[in-house]
Amino acid sequence: MTERSRAKERVRALVRAARRIADPNDELGREARPLLVASTGLSPEGVELALAECLETHPSEDDLERLASSVTPASRAHVVLSASVFVAAHRAIALGLASSVSVFVKPSRRDPAMSHLLARAAPGLFRIVDQLDASPSDVVFAYGSDEALGAVRSALPDGVRFEPHGTGMGICVLELPPDVPGAELDRLARAVTSDVVPFDQFGCLSPRAVLVVGSEVETERFATSLAAALAEAELRVPRGRIPEDVGVAAARYRDAMTVAASVLPAGAGCVGVARDGGIAVIPPPGRNIHVARVVDVGRTVEMLRRWVTVFGVAGSAALSGQLAELAPEARRVRPGFMQRPAFDGPVDRRHKRQAPGELRHQPY
């Protein structure tokens, strides 16, 4: 058996563990649900949705091969997890297992449940640790904010390979021709909603803005349809607990957009609408989404690209090609599939980051 085959076998063992957690008829699956609700803050329906639709339990052999080939073997692998998306622990640990037989997982303090559940379902496959203890020739897969990743990196000894996955988000780009049928707008709105709702938009695949290439009228029509779809989704999958500071930021976004443009209520969140063009702002998560008509999609995407993990694209091949050229590292899928990337490696393929723009000093 080759090392690659052994690596894939370790990943398959982890997938089997995930399958037990996802299964509501498995004892562990039943136990997992309330634990995950308490740990994540998501509603019970939100946890169920994530387990059913976002936790990868049946990857293809091709995807497993790609996942295994996406990493470089290491003596030991360390996985430092963040709290944003609980199912992300599955893929992150899988990447660790693909690169080493010795895997150490440091869960998020705020959201440790999924890592512990996987460890219980696959005893001995990896170890849960409280502290990162990497040595030269180890690899560290780290997830979290750019600031947190910087802190992790600075504490590593020389010779450790560091694979950071930092701040990111999804963006939808829709080409809406004049007089696009209402049914088509509704279909697109439902698709975007199905990407917004999982994890209450706290994931790096969650769309936070929709850029509309089209007229003001179509922008407004789409925003209205999206607000209705989000409100309807709220009834099926209620939003969970939102940290107070995020709630404050959402209120500030809503008020700013009320003054500068317009806002539509959308369940527990809102849709900010900038139909006049030129406005691009990213609202805080918690099912708040910004719909902006853009005149120059290239310029807007150029400004956003360093944060974009995935594009949800509906439009011409030329548009998709333009996005591929502007942000080749970002995934591109149809709306409705942003939260379901193939199990073929890290969801976040960005490997080069631009430094934040230099601050200018001008007191007022």
């Binding site: 709290a83 998306v85 706290f202 709630g247 700013a256 702002v281 990213i282 805080p284 200018r360 007022y364």
Partner: protein, 383 residues
């Protein structure tokens, strides 16, 4: 045009209020009376303000109840009662991480100038009679100023100095010998020369500076001082944070080092707090003999500006002595939203406001992004 007639009348009332305060006579009318009429005016002519008030559960036209506009809104669109073609200046805010500025468009600068001068006189120019030599550690604003701070500094030079800096030439507010900081750093020789002129004239020497420029001055001095040239009646106005552009230095240390550099007591270094979104400023009242009195780091507002620390979540006023974010109601904002909500943390102390810091935006943890981090290009025209 009703808009202009109403606006002009409101400007006149605000200026009258400032004039009365400047002359130390009774106010012609109350803060609330003017504020309520400005709100009515803005409800009529600023659709965004009307939408915000109508959307508020606490909707009321009372000045302490009207919803305040978050400063982020100004990075998203031009917000003003008047159309863009009537703009005489467009002051730009400092950029965010992405560099997107907000804009405060004015159709007249008369009220802004009058308010700056009335408050500046009390805070910086009231300790001694007569003219002063006024210079700035800032770039010259030019014919079309885009910095409200630069405009105010120029107004101070014009009002409290108004003469050529040496020789017998005519006063030129944009003369390079008055604006002593630029891309090439601090013009140390020019600053020494201006200080000598003030000493020779036996006049106060007033240096208007940003914190950033003062750090650059200290670096340029490299331990030396201006004590030989600067008169004992030197006042330094210090404003603005350092905003990540320079080496870190605590405000108290900056004050101490600045005072030492000019050879004056620390009380002669006077903090100013302002922002592009406001037409009014607050000052520390530390200058001995000055008309404004307060402790260090306690900023006093003029009577046409109300500052209320409010809870960031509920926006209700916090208990006396508690820290909240600053909510401003500025009568100088006749054509621009009257009530402004910032993320600056403040606490009421006596008759003033203590600056505590700046509230962090929405968390950046995990995959989240803060609105301030991501505010991009301002839109074209919206109202």
């Amino acid at each position: 045009m009703d808009l202009l007639r109403e606006s002009d009348a409101l400007h006149a009332r605000v200026q009258a209020l400032a004039r009365a305060w400047d002359r130390r006579i009774a106010a012609p009318e109350s803060f609330d009376a003017i504020a309520t009429d400005i709100v009515r005016h803005q409800m009529r002519y600023i659709p965004g303000v009307r939408r915000l008030i109508e959307a508020s559960a606490r909707a009321s036209l009372a000045p302490d109840m009207i919803p305040a506009v978050p400063v982020d809104a100004f990075r998203l669109a031009r917000i003003a009662a008047h159309p863009p073609e009537l703009d005489v200046v467009r002051f730009r805010t400092s950029g965010t991480t992405s560099g997107a500025p907000g804009v405060h468009a004015m159709r007249t600068t008369e009220t802004y100038r009058a308010l700056c001068l009335a408050m500046g006189r009390r805070a910086l120019f009231s300790a001694w009679d007569g003219p002063a030599v006024v210079v700035a550690l800032a770039p010259a604003p030019g014919a079309t100023p885009t910095s409200s701070l630069g405009f105010m500094m120029a107004a101070f030079m014009d009002e409290f100095d108004g003469r050529a800096l040496g020789g017998e030439g005519v006063f030129d507010v944009n003369a390079p010998e008055r604006w002593l900081f630029g891309d090439d750093g601090v013009h140390l020789a020019g600053l020494r020369r201006a200080a000598r002129i003030a000493s020779e004239r036996n006049e106060p020497f007033v240096v208007l500076a940003t914190g950033f420029a003062l750090v650059a001055l200290l670096d340029a001095l490299d331990g030396a001082t201006l004590g030989e040239e600067a008169p004992t009646r030197t006042v330094v106005m210090s404003t603005g944070g350092l905003k990540g552009r320079t080496r870190t230095i605590e405000p108290s240390e900056l004050t101490r080092a600045t005072a030492r550099a000019f050879g004056v007591p620390e009380a002669h270094v006077v903090g100013e707090y302002g922002m592009t979104e406001l037409a009014s400023q607050l000052y520390e009242g530390t200058l001995p003999g000055g008309a404004l009195r307060s402790a260090r780091n306690v900023y006093v507002a003029p009577p046409w500006l109300e500052v209320t620390p409010v809870d960031p979540a509920t926006l209700a006023p916090v208990a006396l002595g508690d820290v909240g974010i600053a909510r401003f109601v500025d009568l100088g904002n006749v054509d621009f939203p009257l009530a402004i909500l910032t993320e600056d943390l403040v606490r009421r102390r006596g008759d003033g406001i203590e600056l505590v810091g700046r509230r962090q935006g929405a968390p950046l943890r995990g995959c989240s992004l803060a609105i301030e981090e991501m505010a991009l290009s301002p839109g074209p025209v919206a109202s």
